[in-house]
Symmetry: C2
């Protein structure tokens, strides 16, 4: 294969081959470096090997395309020229050192591997010592290089090197790395090289070119390491993008006290406040800030320490924010009082910050309202709606760390990622770690919240937790985490594995025990953004709400109606259950009707409450759906009870009473209740139930109508598979409603429609639409029947399915567009063919999932209905899909 495409892009000396728009090709970091270079920002020169090269690497069976090595050499020469002053890669006198970093289209913090100080060897180290006039720095750089290269490229465990450092410190009886002098580090370098030889049976490579090509290939390989795969899965990043490799001249933040390194944001990524935000460390390399091993200083301190550098940094980052029209997350290094920008990218932020920043930037005239709407990831709104610690709760705060990711969470303390995954199946857990690393991702995913003793607001724990929308308290230095003993202690308090602990990621508080939480109050900015979203969206949004309390919440969150009121939830209330059981145990229609008569006034008042709360908005009421045995004691419990009574020779009459109950429970027992006697099948076999529920609905509506109130009941018949089922129930409903309205002397408008939640309903939707005045897709059940997955049982295999990518996503969370979605579309098309003005909605859990909302919009649905808390997500997602369709630009913050 001959080289045809340009696989390497240069940047340096104020001019780059690429541009900021070339993220696909250069990755986020490479595009940022090109853009910054072109914008005159001081960036160390270098070149980017494209993502295409990475993909070719995989296509060729992990070999780089022919010619790439030669091309790299050419660009190395260009880089030497840009650096100037006679610096050359591998030169003994003036050695040019480089960094090798990954950089894919989407930021994957900490996921990919990096090698710094590349180009050092036993000969160039002498040049570095001469040039830097800092022997300790030089040996430290060489030590770091061998360590990183050994780990990242050669695959030697980090601990192997760390262990040698600890030994050296122990031997010298000092605590800090900084206490090791040049000689110590020189000795360490020898030990490191011996370690490499011992483990890998080869010498540490001395040829800088070999070092470079090996590192490049290691970055390519790191694209498919397990951490990267997990992160991509969690963040919806396609696996075929590949990563670019950035080779850049090294600058040093660790060349003494006039050097520093730091990271920052142009606005506060946690609150969104327009403040310059960041952290730095003097005399350190970048990894020291991110790794959380030393707690950095707030960036404001830099103004005092290096005022000129600080001013220049503010100017540059302001320019970058205006240039990119979004918050920038940047990395910088000061080498002996000279500022270099190493990276800029769109800053990750909390949902809270995203909303504030989007609204602020509209006010500042930086972006349009529509762009603002597109700037917030709908799913992230979940974070805003996280509970907070009940302000009235009596709490014992034992420590305070950084408020790294908002929300409050209680759980049992666990001290390793594996334990978190294990225990999270049984109860909520808080993952407590000294610091987190990418290896802990699965544990963070399983935990309700994360607590770390070290690291700042941009530490791994903080960044990842924010991305996950999970509460995190980071850098809580007063606690001592003992991973081995499975406990942490603070002063005289000890929290052991299994103890309850609560964290408040909004304030950084660590609280003992389980603490009551409170629903969040949303900000004015949030309301503003939602209003802008509502202005553009055409898809209606309703809520699933069963009682007036939920309905009230739903309206607060912007519901334009109730899409699903599950009447059975009213049946389960404690004072009603005995009557419901009486109804089920009745041995004649008359006895059943007697019990139903007692339920009638209760249901009527339920509906009245709902109608009043919704005040003229439509309310879809589903008739009784679950199989009747759900209201009775469990069969196996009765069996055990009776057997024990018999074994203990209890009174015959007592036993016989229980036996009678068991007999009825046995009659109602089902092998597959999901597919059993439920839904409209109940109302068909027991028409008196449908009659009672219809009476309750229509009577409530009539009573309110008489008072001049507008009521829009939509009566929904569940689990229809054949049009005649609906016809049967509709006839019953119409007749009953007619009777009630006649008696009440008032007429109300109401609709009779059906859930479409069985494949057969989709297939015969044209027939069903002859009777149905509306459709509501019950995508939970439709997913169950289309896949043949019981939601209650699928846990036994579905995780494995997702891990092995047999399924991309849990179809109960995100609507399966290839399977279930095809049936939904078929249902909509067939239904509208019969009845062009058919009102169609969805009321499964999917109504609050952004991707599913997008699907629903495209499938032509009139509305989605979801739980009240997810309404903002649905509203925003509905607005975004509309804007995308209209071609309004602006990318979200992936």
């Amino acid at each position: 294969m001959t080289m045809e495409k340009k696989l390497v892009y240069f940047f340096g000396n104020g001019k780059a081959d690429g541009t900021g728009a070339m993220k696909d090709m250069l990755g986020g970091k490479g595009a940022g470096l090109a853009e910054m270079t072109n914008a005159g920002v001081p960036v160390p020169p270098g070149f980017t090997i494209t993502t295409e090269a990475c993909n070719l690497f995989y296509e060729l069976g992990k070999k780089v395309p022919e010619g790439l090595d030669a091309e790299m050499n050419e660009y190395l020469a260009k880089m030497e020229q840009a650096v100037g002053n006679g610096y050359r890669f591998g030169d003994v006198n003036k050695p040019l050192l480089v960094s090798v970093r990954s950089g894919s289209k989407f930021s994957m913090p900490g996921m990919m591997d990096t090698v710094l100080n590349l180009g050092l060897n036993d000969r160039t180290i002498e040049g570095l010592i001469r040039l830097s006039r800092n022997e300790r720095f030089a040996w430290d750089a060489y030590r770091r290089f061998i360590q990183m290269f050994g780990n990242v490229v050669l695959g030697i465990e980090k601990e192997e090197f760390e262990h040698l450092i600890s030994e050296a410190k122990k031997k010298k009886k000092v605590k800090l790395d900084l206490d090791l002098n040049a000689q110590d580090l020189k000795t360490l370098v020898e030990k490191f090289k011996a370690k490499v030889k011992q483990v890998k049976k080869r010498d540490f490579p001395q040829d800088p070119i070999e070092q470079l090509t090996m590192s490049r290939d290691a970055v390519f390989n790191s694209w498919n390491n397990p951490r990267a795969i997990t992160y991509r899965r969690l963040n919806d990043i396609p696996a075929n993008l590949g990563t670019a490799v950035n080779v850049q001249a090294m600058v040093y933040g660790n060349m003494g006290d006039t050097s520093a390194t730091g990271v920052g944001f142009t606005r506060d990524p946690s609150t969104g406040a327009k403040v310059f935000y960041g952290e730095y460390l003097t005399n350190a390399q970048g990894e020291d800030v991110v790794a959380g091993t030393r707690t950095p200083h707030p960036i404001a301190d830099l103004e005092k320490e290096m005022p000129a550098v600080y001013r220049q940094l503010r100017e540059i980052t302001d320019k970058l924010e205006k240039h990119y029209r979004d918050v920038q997350d940047f990395e910088f290094t000061v080498q002996e009082n000279t500022l270099y920008m190493l990276q800029t990218r769109t800053g990750k932020r909390t949902a809270h910050a995203a909303v504030k920043i989007a609204v602020d930037m509209v006010k500042e005239g930086l972006i349009s309202k529509e762009e603002a709407v597109l700037r917030v990831e709908p799913a992230s709104l979940d974070q805003l709606l996280h509970p907070i610690i009940d302000p009235k709760a009596k709490i014992t705060v034992v420590a305070k760390g950084l408020p790294a990711s908002p929300g409050a969470a209680s759980g049992m303390a666990v001290f390793s990622a594996d334990e978190a995954v294990k225990q999270a199946k049984k109860h909520p857990v808080i993952l407590c770690r000294p610091e987190t690393t990418p290896d802990d991702i699965h544990g963070m995913d399983a935990a309700k919240g994360i607590l770390t003793a070290r690291g700042g607001m941009t530490s791994h724990a903080a960044v990842v937790a924010r991305g996950m929308g999970k509460p995190c308290v980071a850098g809580c230095e007063s606690i001592r985490v003992d991973v081995k003993a499975k406990k942490f202690s603070v002063d005289k308090t000890t929290v052991k594995e299994g103890d309850w602990v609560t964290i408040d990621g909004g304030t950084g508080r660590v609280i003992l025990g389980k603490v009551p939480t409170k629903d969040p109050v949303v900000s004015g900015d949030f309301g503003t953004l939602m209003q802008w979203a509502d202005e553009v969206r055409t898809l209606k949004v309703r809520a699933n709400a069963d009682v007036p309390r939920d309905a009230k919440m739903a309206r607060q969150f912007g519901a334009e109606g109730i899409g699903l009121c599950r009447t059975e939830h009213m049946f389960f209330e404690s004072e009603r259950l005995p009557i419901v059981q009486q109804m089920i145990l009745a041995d004649s229609t008359e006895a059943r009707e007697k019990a139903l008569a007692k339920l009638l006034p209760m249901q009527r008042s339920d509906f009245k409450g709902l109608f009043e709360t919704m005040d003229g908005l439509p309310v879809t009421i589903r008739l009784l759906d679950p199989p009747l045995h759900e209201f009775l004691p469990r069969r196996e419990d009765l069996m055990v009870e009776i057997a024990v009574m018999q074994a203990k020779k209890a009174a015959k009459a007592t036993i016989s009473k229980k036996e009678k109950l068991l007999h009825r429970v046995e009659e109602l027992h089902e092998f597959n209740p999901m597919l059993g006697h439920r839904g409209c099948r109940l109302g068909i076999v027991y028409p008196e139930i449908t009659r009672m529920q219809t009476r309750a609905i229509i009577e409530a509506a009539c009573d309110l109508a008489k008072k001049g109130k507008k009521v829009v009941p939509e009566i929904m018949v569940p689990l229809v598979g054949a049009v005649k089922e609906l016809k049967n129930q509709k006839d019953l409903i119409k007749a009953t409603a007619e009777e009630v309205m006649k008696k009440k002397g008032v007429r109300i408008e109401y609709l009779v429609g059906t859930m479409i939640e069985l494949p057969r309903a989709c297939v015969t939707a044209d027939e069903i639409a002859k009777e149905a005045e509306f459709f509501s897709f019950g995508t939970n059940d439709l997913t169950q029947t289309t896949f043949g997955f019981s939601r209650d049982d699928a846990g036994k295999f579905i995780n494995q399915y997702i891990e092995t990518t047999i399924l991309e996503k849990d179809p109960f969370q995100t609507l399966d567009q290839d399977g279930v979605g095809v049936l939904v579309k078929m249902g909509v098309e067939k239904g509208r063919k019969t009845r062009p003005d058919l009102k169609v909605g969805i009321c499964g859990e999917h109504g609050g999932d952004p991707a599913s909302v997008e699907f629903c919009y495209k499938a032509g649905l009139d509305y989605v209905s979801c739980s009240p808390f997810r309404l903002p997500i649905a509203r925003l997602a509905a607005a975004q899909v509309r804007l995308k369709e209209k071609g309004v630009g602006g990318s979200g913050t992936k």
Copy 2:
């Protein structure tokens, strides 16, 4: 509305308005009368009111179309002319009496109501006495007329009249109706008229025209009586056909010993033998023969009694059979030595007879082979395959009746139709009745067999039982059935309700107790017909068979391969179950593999046996399908056991052992096992199971291939909903097979395919076909998921669904073409789009249902697979649909 269409058709005097082809319009009886009249057969003249008039009657809200009465009068006049001799309807001197009979397109024996002797009143009776010179006959005719009219037209219970007859006989101390003389009958007529007045508050109508119009309307109304509706449902007769009304001059078989009435068949409807077959009664009306109240004489006796009439009857019926080219079922009456044919129609017959007759008629040159194939109703073949009494069984024959419908059946004796329905839910029942009436239909449907004390081979019980393919012993006069006491006795033996009794409908034997039965041996004619069917059919037929024994049977019944071998049936065998349980209870993959290693040789030998039996025909083997808990003790049983042990303070070790088992059972417990961890989901989570089964299959195949035998294994992955599931399993199968073949040093051809049994599989069949080398539709599960019906639980509502016609048919018996069928077609189309040569079959229960076989052929399937016993049905159905498509005529015997 004005009359536009001809609604009345005349027949008589050797010429009819209609023809035999006009069954739709004239009904079977009317068309037969027209045809016979045209053919010069002596038929009493009359006219037929069309089925269209019946439908108009219903359209007009149970009113006849305007002008129909006038048209009828016109035709009455024509009829009077044809009868001649001055007979006139309503005439006092020469009264013409008529019969009014229903007659729809398809024969519905005993379902519809008939009125005879219409035209009699207090004045015309005198004429009849004079003309007949038989006062007793005349009063008996009048008595019968009032009784039938009173019952059929006025809706008075039969018992009301019967009671008066019984009283009269009691008063006179006689036993038989014949013992009542003219005076007695005259008195009875008065009492009957008084009864009518008493019950209906009106006089018995004296105006013959009013009698006629009321009767006509009653026949129209009888089309929708409950018995007729039930019969139509059981026999697949559409409800919108309507019935014709035949008004025909009366002739009398009860005018003394030179008169007779009878019914017959041109061949034996039970055996198919070419013998003149029938029964008659001297001095009787037709209803006496059919009703079973008197046991008639075999028709051979007529030759002695009335030789000339007998000869004429033979000539006419021979002519009719040749004319219609099929067995004729005829009714005749001899009035004072003159023969009249009252009806002829295609004779209903047993499956056995149908086969023999079809084959004989081809030999006789009467019909073609293809017509012969179309002459046998596929579903009826079931009868041929009914078990017979094991000839070696020691049996106690207590009585012998008529062999009215073939097959042997054991069951508990019940004495009413309602009881039959009730008890049949728990155990098999034999319905024992003095005789049956159309009111007993539901009980006959529920019973395994029917036993009657009275009635002949053409009695209601016999005709209906044959239609149902159920064993029936009729006219078993030696038994006394006491319905009230719920028992029958014969000599000194009494059989009470709940006692086991066995009937042999092939020989007429009634046997005490439960008797072992034996599989039937099919006749040479059957083989001939099947061969003809095979010559025309293109749809292949396979069998569902799990063990060599079934496979042998399958080949005998013509299987062209095994379409479904359910490997789990091999797991349930008693010596294997403990090993299977060991495998399930294993707490590591290694332990599981150890147990599987023990199963391997067993499975291998299973497959070897199957392959050897099938001898080169394809064998589709489904990998393990059911959820694993099916192989363990029931959860609730363990719970009870443990609770009882605890209550009784059993040893802790014993309890803890059980608890451990329960723990695993709980882990495997599922709320909806149908939708749970089963099918390919097992093989994905436990690849070692798939590996073992593949090894067993391929090793068996290799071993046989080495011996030069041809083996065609098709490995089928169950319950695939996403192509990646299949890919996962296919990769595993291919790798394992490759390994086995390498080791065995022999290569065999095999396919890997999948069941299509989930809606999602149909929807994504194009994707699945990328991996699948064949599809087999599992329509059982597909029906469950498409409808959301659990087959095990649907019993709670499905009967009501069918009774109220929410569903036309049980979708588990006949494939639901509107819903499930649409998905099947989608699956076939999408699958073949990806892989045009994709082999597609069906292996649900539907493969043996004629309507479903027809559907499968039309949907383009390559084969159907069903249980061995249903293979002949599938073969015949497949041949018929092919012939129908080719436009070969000939109607089945509905």
